[in-house]
């Protein structure tokens, strides 16, 4: 069904918007123009209904109750795992660990893989555009193991050249951890090519998919990555939904992450044995309803087709860059819409991003302002903060126009 719709071409954005109840509300007395989807996406009725239905009809703890209702909850939870695995092209649902999303996933790998396999002098390769969630866990792992961090520099357009990756990899590289799509300047990284380089060097590769998975077709087999993180709340799913894809043989050789109930096989006074992946990494009562909501979200997206989503955002991004430039804004990152996604950072004249975001908010336009949890990238850009407009499948050309119109209000205050 997804394929049929994809072949039909452009999405019907107006029809899609009707699925998102919040998009019909007002903010500051004006129609809401939500341009902060890189921060969190809005949720369609289908996701909200799935969560409500789970609580109203199927709620019990998963993997615990012997009674029929308990089995329903377990089936819903494990069914969600199968659905999310299919969304990213993972043939085996056991490769998908549920958790709160990208931050927890990277911490999981940094602990359960990093503390086991990193040794003094080993190198972890990051890039200059990483979100703090893909920096800080590695700093901590490096501190504990004696490993070192190396950064792939960006080229002048804010893109990652394979030559730069090649010259950062050494014989001591054990892991490349990088974002698939920058949350600040939208840069795509050539994931498959870098995965191949990592494996040739005998290293693992982790892709921070917080943005990438939310806006692009993803096939983990084709990309051949070892780890990929999923932020459910950015994929139209509930907050605190998401997870980690991990290559099964890698997950099997890893330590557990959180210890606790349901991740064990047997517990003795002085030691324990653990379940197989993914349950080895799911201690305590899990985010069952959120995972069910996430499954509804990816089903919704698959029904539309991620290629259509990507094509729509590509057009909007190109349009937004054009219009912002035309209005006199400085737009950061690459101009090439084929090499970047729909997070557009900019400075409008000399107006500080916080002031701009405040003024725009009073016009009903929601943008993000700040360092976007990417201070190393801010230093590279040479600014303390940026204003950022970001899109999803429900974003429209009219909303970009509303952003541009609202800039005039800022000009009035600060001009």
């Amino acid at each position: 069904m997804a394929t049929v719709r994809e072949e039909r071409g452009a999405m019907d954005v107006e029809r899609i918007r009707k699925d998102f109840p919040i998009l019909s509300r007002e903010m500051a007395g004006k129609p809401l123009v939500y341009l902060d989807s890189a921060s969190t996406s809005q949720k369609p009725r289908q996701v909200i209904d799935a969560v409500v239905e789970f609580y109203e009809e199927h709620n019990a703890n998963a993997h615990r109750g012997i009674y029929p209702l308990g089995q329903e909850a377990t089936d819903a939870y494990e069914g969600a795992r199968e659905r999310v695995a299919a969304f990213i092209g993972a043939p085996d649902p056991r490769t998908v660990i549920f958790n709160r999303g990208t931050t927890e996933s990277i911490n999981l790998v940094a602990h359960a893989w990093g503390r086991t396999f990193l040794e003094e002098g080993d190198e972890i390769v990051l890039t200059e555009m990483e979100h703090h969630s893909n920096v800080v866990p590695w700093q901590l792992a490096a501190r504990d193991t004696g490993a070192m961090l190396r950064y792939v520099p960006l080229n002048e357009d804010g893109l990652i050249d394979l030559d730069a990756v090649a010259s950062t990899i050494t014989s001591r590289t054990r892991l490349i951890a990088m974002s698939g799509q920058s949350n600040v300047i939208g840069t795509f990284t050539p994931i498959a090519e870098i995965a191949e380089m990592a494996h040739e060097a005998g290293a693992r590769i982790l892709v921070d998919g917080a943005q990438f998975v939310s806006h692009n077709p993803v096939d983990v087999v084709e990309l051949d990555v070892d780890f990929l993180t999923i932020s459910g709340h950015k994929v139209l799913g509930p907050t605190a939904s998401g997870g980690l894809y991990g290559r099964l043989e890698v997950l099997e050789e890893m330590d557990p992450f959180l210890g606790g109930g349901e991740m064990i096989r047997e517990v003795f006074a002085d030691h324990s044995t653990y379940k197989e992946p993914p349950w080895k990494f799911e201690a305590g009562t899990m985010n069952v309803a959120q995972s069910v909501g996430l499954a509804a979200a990816v089903e919704y997206l698959d029904g539309i087709g991620m290629k259509s989503v990507r094509d729509h955002e590509r057009e909007l991004t190109a349009y937004a860059i054009d219009r912002l430039r035309g209005a006199g804004a400085r737009v950061f990152g690459s101009d090439d819409p084929d090499r970047r996604g729909g997070a557009v950072s900019f400075w409008y004249r000399d107006i500080h991003p916080h002031d701009l975001a405040t003024v725009l908010g009073e016009q009903g336009v929601a943008i993000r302002a700040g360092h976007h949890c990417a201070q190393p990238l801010m230093r590279w850009l040479g600014v303390p903060a940026t204003a950022r407009a970001s899109f999803h499948l429900y974003s429209t050309v009219d909303e970009v126009d509303a952003l541009i119109d609202a800039l005039a209000a800022a000009e009035e205050v600060f001009g």
Binding site: H352, H354, D355, T358, E362, P384, V413, F414
Partner: protein, 145 residues
């Protein structure tokens, strides 16, 4: 709540023409701090002597609210005793929390920042300079001395 209540003329004037924005020769204390949430930066330089803030200046970068507030701070605390400066800082915080209506005579230009209280996410911008200033006083070891 209109933008005019937030971005009053006097705030924009302090932002565009900041007072005492410079290094300070002979400063007895200089303290720099960034707001981790937004990256705004303020350095407060002060000459604290004989229990009195004899001179104060600032440097920094950031939004209009953080920079204007720091500029107003330097105007309002210079020449005050350390105790009075501390008292003013406390009253300023109370105003930002919406707890007190300021005494307009004592507050001077600072009154203009009252509207910020209606924008909770921006309050941290307005108090950044005051945080640095109060820590600078503590660091200069002038507890009532």
């Amino acid at each position: 709540m209109s933008l005019d209540d937030l971005y009053k003329e006097v705030i924009l004037d302090h932002y565009k023409n900041p007072r005492n924005k410079r290094p300070l020769d002979g400063a007895t204390v200089s303290l720099h701090r960034t707001n981790p949430l937004c990256g705004d930066e303020i350095t407060i330089h002060a000459v604290v002597d004989d229990g009195r803030v004899k001179a104060v200046a600032f440097e920094g970068q950031g939004c209009s609210i953080s920079q204007a507030s720091a500029s107003m701070l330097t105007d309002s605390v210079e020449g005050k005793s350390v105790d009075d400066a501390r008292g003013l800082a406390g009253e300023f915080r109370s105003m930002m929390e919406g707890k007190v209506d300021p005494d307009e005579d004592a507050f001077g230009d600072l009154v203009a920042l009252k509207g910020v209280a209606k924008y909770p996410v921006r309050i941290k911008c307005a108090v950044l300079g005051w945080d640095v200033f109060q820590d600078a006083l503590a660091e200069s070891g002038t507890d009532g001395a």
